[in-house]
């Protein structure tokens, strides 16, 4: 594997140029459709009243937060093994989107649980593991910013992503164990499709698709920006040497 093999950024820029409008358009449509459907046209849950409507934001954001990290993990592996620069830049581009999704999941989860738990923040195992995921995201982004040489930064952040994933999984399990010890937190079953009426499931799936498309659109835009930044850096370096 020659170290300077590269996925062709030019080809990526061309293909992403014509894909982007479609993805953003579709993302907008599905998001609006899913959220309005869920917000306006579904009844209330007999037990939680209208707070169940938060599910249409909380669950997709939570899933996206985890999937974003998994996408970064895959991109890091591709960078470490195949040295595709575009995948390293895609991982860097996905991090801010992932951290925002984690924040959304945290806020909406806390707000949703407030009426039931009586406090704005309960150390519920699920919410806490998103808090931990948030810390991992912070470390990842901070490491990218701390290193000038892009290739060294890509190497280090990829290694951090691999190790971080193992420990995030461990934390997820440890938090379950830890919370049983403290108090029997009301485990709000957020898993979609569980004894939920069809009227809730459909808009939820639409909202989820909307979030996935939003994620893809944002990552595409941000990756293109990262590639342009890399190109700018190369041109400036050439200018300095000329």
């Amino acid at each position: 594997m020659s170290i300077w093999e590269y996925a062709n950024p030019k080809k990526f820029m061309q293909t992403s140029a014509w894909v982007l409008p479609w993805v953003t358009g579709l993302a907008f449509v599905t998001l609006v459709l899913g959220l309005t459907w869920g917000f306006f046209f579904t009844g209330d849950d007999y037990r939680q009243g209208s707070t169940v409507k938060i599910i249409f934001i909380h669950v997709p954001a939570a899933l996206m937060a985890i999937n974003a990290w998994l996408m970064m993990l895959v991109c890091s592996l591709i960078w470490l093994i195949r040295r595709h620069h575009v995948s390293a830049l895609a991982a860097k581009a996905a991090a801010p989107v992932g951290v925002t999704m984690t924040l959304i999941a945290l806020f909406t989860g806390a707000i949703w649980g407030q009426p039931m738990w009586g406090t704005w923040w309960a150390w519920d195992p699920r919410l806490t593991s998103f808090l931990i995921l948030f810390l991992f995201y912070l470390g990842y982004i901070a490491l990218w910013e701390a290193i000038e040489d892009p290739d060294t930064a890509a190497d280090l952040t990829s290694v951090l992503c691999l190790v971080g994933s193992v420990f995030a999984l461990l934390s997820r399990y440890a938090v379950n164990f830890w919370n049983q010890g403290l108090h029997q937190g009301a485990s709000l079953s957020l898993a979609p499709g569980e004894r939920m009426a069809m009227t809730f499931k459909l808009p939820l799936y639409v909202a989820m698709t909307g979030f996935v498309l939003l994620f893809v659109a944002l990552v595409l835009i941000r990756t293109r920006t990262e590639i342009r930044a890399r190109r700018l850096r190369a041109l400036e370096a050439r200018g300095r040497m000329g």
């Binding site: 959220l35 917000f39 306006f40 046209f41 209330d44 939680q48 009243g49 209208s50 707070t51 409507k53 938060i54 934001i57 909380h58 954001a61 801010p96 989107v97 925002t100 924040l103 959304i104 806020f107 909406t108 707000i111 949703w112 407030q114 009426p115 939003l214 944002l218 835009i221 941000r222 293109r224 920006t225 342009r228 930044a229 190109r231 700018l232 041109l235 400036e236 050439r238 200018g239």
Partner: protein, 51 residues
């Protein structure tokens, strides 16, 4: 308008925060993209290279 009952504040709060964060992210992404494209084109003109 849909009837939100006594949890109206909670639901609207959650949606508000979520949409706020999403719009912030979208705006930041677009703004950074435009700024980078402008800086790149300026440098390209300077070095006389076609994009």
């Amino acid at each position: 308008m849909v009837e939100l009952g006594k949890y109206a504040g909670t639901v609207l709060g959650a949606y508000g925060v979520a949409l706020g964060l999403i719009l912030g992210l979208v705006w930041l992404t677009l703004w950074q993209g435009k700024r980078m494209r402008r800086r790149l084109e300026a440098t390209e003109r300077e070095l006389g290279i076609d994009g």
